[in-house]
Symmetry: D2
Subunit: 307 residues, 4 copies
């Protein structure tokens, strides 16, 4: 990797994308997300040496939504290791809209831990193995983020519960196949709280740092997950982090990453850096319109990807 | 129709089928149904002139299960008429096992009122339009059966509720598409009670008589449904009464009919007769193994079908 | 059946449908069919007693297209009987557009003999068992139509061959599963010639008469198929004659029938009559818009259906 | 990357896998592939500095089959660049067995260039843009392999043509959707010849070196593809190189790679090395049973993957 002036690059990217800043629309199905200013745009990159580069609304918190599914996955792997993969797969799902279809054909085993069905199964695992799942999950997120002030946002969790019929269909179908072991309401409660976490770009980049440092926490040196586990989580992000746009993101950005319908995207270069970007307008596949473009330009301009 | 000696024909059929009387196995997924003697076999035919012909265990009650869906359909048509068909279709479902798949592709509108999803929507309609849906539905069944003693069997209804995850997946998926208007628990409660009715072959044949008499009750002369409505209910039975064995049943028997996993089958020849048969062992498609054979032999020997 | 004045009824129906006579559009994918006047409308009803009733353009010939699949089915049944059903099913297909999907899931066995894949398999059977399949098939159609002048229309057959990629995909997929035994080009050639037959409404009604008379030819008394075979062909028409509108047609018309993209529909009441109607404008499902309405009004006004 | 003694590691891996060397079975559907000794096992790793490490039957040639699809993709990208992606996608296919299903739902645009349908479209593109496609494709493979002696194996190509009904179904379905522009026979001929190439492990590792060196040929310094194109080809391999075992391979091996039913697998670490392994017995997903294990152990023991 050649020496990179991120500050200049961020400036260039923001200028270059100015003409398309109104493309896409924020998620509308979760009422709480509708109140966000759709024109926000922020980026924060942290490297493994502790340097920070940022631009725009990078200090403003937003709902990270599905990005949290990486945390629940990491915690479940920490708790039960390899056994997790008897309950959920590691294959791309092929299509955003057929999760119920695949779930029926594949007898209740979700394709991967990032589609809704898979993340729900991960929550079910956490409930089975943890004493106080909701608190311990929050503690784990606070630990990897090195930030004890992070909170679930109850109003967002409740807002999602009101509109959660599709997720209920998923969980009952999986229970019919024997792949849900706990009370349905309790599992969904944990799932919706998981998705209600808010962070800003800096916090998000920090919280994914352990995946860029082979599992080790940057500050404390504690092993959050093993190097092999970190590698595998990164792999799952690469293949499944963007629903049925995983190929497109890999193709254009070339880094493992995860998006959320709140408009956040986090990506990372193992051994090098993590980067979080936020822009609430989404493209037709449910990923941040500008966020995808910002990261594509970033790895193009730095000529730096894992491939 | 030539003059037919049903007594002799029933005798012949029972003899002829003796060698295969142990084929198939009773439904095992509803605990309450497991206690039934699997070797029972009964038939009762009632014609529009009030004659009765029967053989075997025709006076023993059994759980009619999905056969009841014809009653809920008839009541819903009586209550809201043509409007029902905006909520549920009249097309065969194509496959027994893909109801969730079709439901997702077709945006929450079930293919027909006899697949589980369709019968659940019909219950939702009854709840919207009736004051006391559970009682009024029972009253309607008692009326068409001319039998005020018929009852829901609470233990069967509760037994099914315990194993009803697949049905919950269906109803939440439909609610996600806006095709369920009432409380999910209330709708499923009505649905499971509907399926818990018990009758014997004679009672079952009697309760379907209005569909053989152009909608008119045989005793009272009251119009249960209009002639046109009776015809249409018969059509839906012909095309959708046997899940993905509807073609097979039509092909071999040539009469509209409806089966239930309790091993009952009812069929009818418009303007002529109704016939109910019961044998608990099921074939691979979930229809009574012997019941299908009995009716096939019946219409073959009498050379009498609607086609 | 009450005494019916068909002449009056036809008059009433034509008047009543006048306001919607421009609904729908003729098939456009077969160039040869585009040259037809879309405003044609004719009907011809023949009863088993030899009476005839007709109205409109009932003497003008049109391309009967898929209606011919009933003739190839009847001939195949005549030639190999029950064995045919190991090669093709008798179940409704569930959806017009998923024939390749179902065919793949169900390993090359088409759902029924009226979807394209099924009719192609029937042609493959005829080629295996007949000396001169194309001539013998034409001879059979001439025989049931009591009309030695009927001809294949070569220009229509060739026009379809030019646009037959979808059918080639179907036949190669079936051959991959081992369900095509002859040369692909020869099978498709027979298939396209089969669909190129032209008749007028009177001829069409005549050619289906053997299915209303339990298999016996009306003039010669020859048994074309056995009574049981006639009944089963009628059943397959009832369940599968209108692609994924079979339920709708059964529901509204209540008779077994078969449609073609040339705008023809034939239906029959076993033991009573056959009726052919022709109007080239199609509805969204590929069936004659006016043809469906005419037959719906006919059975409504005569209060006469098999159900 | 720590200093690695590949010779020792290869020895250890071969010893460790000894107990499972009889697992799986060679592909049986292509007659020409059945004559291969199923117990062969070879590996060859070449790094960007020109060093070579190998073990076992690494000098014996085998049919590389689908691995060749990377060459046709690279050539198509070289010829028409970005425009290729209007004809074929970059998303994982989700399931090995539903290519016809997806192809129908997605209107003839294959998911990616490595499923059969996608590779066929790439061949169609080459035929449109090249003067002498079959010779120019072979010349391109010889160039990237730095080996003018490589040849198509006619007997293998012809063997596949005899069993190619499924591929014919795919190509006709795509032509029906307008996504095949040339003569079907010519396209399939190129496709089957493409898959008939034979190499040994050393040659295979050499021929993929341009993808580990940002597109530049190791010997001549010529740019085969641009750095950005090389990166994108690697991405597509990562996501789609192993049919519906892409996730599994990424998860366990952590490198972009491509397998063939001849039992070959090639993988590469951008900027570091390429590695080819060959063992003809396949697992249930059609990938080399031992080949997968060898590469999993390799990246585990060297603690070296892109993630």
């Amino acid at each position: 990797m050649k020496q990179v002036n991120y500050k200049t690059i961020f400036n260039d990217i923001f200028l270059e994308l100015k003409p398309i800043e109104k493309k896409g629309a924020p998620a509308s199905y979760i009422p709480e997300l509708c109140n966000v200013d759709p024109d926000k745009l922020g980026i924060h990159l942290s490297n493994v040496d502790g340097e920070h580069f940022y631009q725009g609304d990078s200090e403003e918190r937003f709902s990270i939504q599905s990005i949290s599914k990486v945390f629940s996955l990491a915690l479940a792997i920490r708790v039960i290791g390899q056994k997790l993969w008897t309950r959920v797969g590691v294959e791309p799902s092929g299509s955003a809209f057929n999760s119920l279809v695949q779930l029926e054909h594949e007898e209740g085993i979700p394709r991967n831990p990032f589609i809704n069905a898979g993340a729900i199964v991960v929550c079910d695992v956490l409930i089975t193995y943890l004493q106080d799942p909701k608190q311990e999950l929050l503690d784990f997120i606070r630990k990897v983020a090195d930030n004890p002030a992070l909170q679930y946002k109850q109003s967002v969790a409740e807002s999602e519960m009101m509109t959660g019929d599709r997720n209920k269909a998923l969980i009952y179908l999986m229970r019919d196949f024997g792949n849900i072991h706990n009370d349905v309401e309790q599992v969904l409660d944990l799932y919706f709280y998981l998705c209600s976490i808010e962070m800003n770009c800096r916090e998000l980049a920090r919280s994914f740092m352990f995946l860029a440092t082979h599992g080790m926490d940057q500050s404390s040196g504690e092993m959050i997950v093993s190097p092999s586990q970190a590698k595998r989580i990164n792999t799952v992000m690469q293949l499944c982090g963007f629903y049925d746009e995983a190929g497109e993101f890999s193709f254009k950005v070339g880094l493992p990453g995860k998006s959320g319908v709140g408009g956040g995207i986090v990506a990372l270069h193992p051994g090098k850096y993590t980067v979080a970007v936020w822009s609430p307008r989404l493209n037709g596949k449910g990923n941040s319109y500008m966020g995808m473009k910002v990261l594509e330009l970033l790895t193009t301009k730095t000529e730096d990807s894992i491939f």
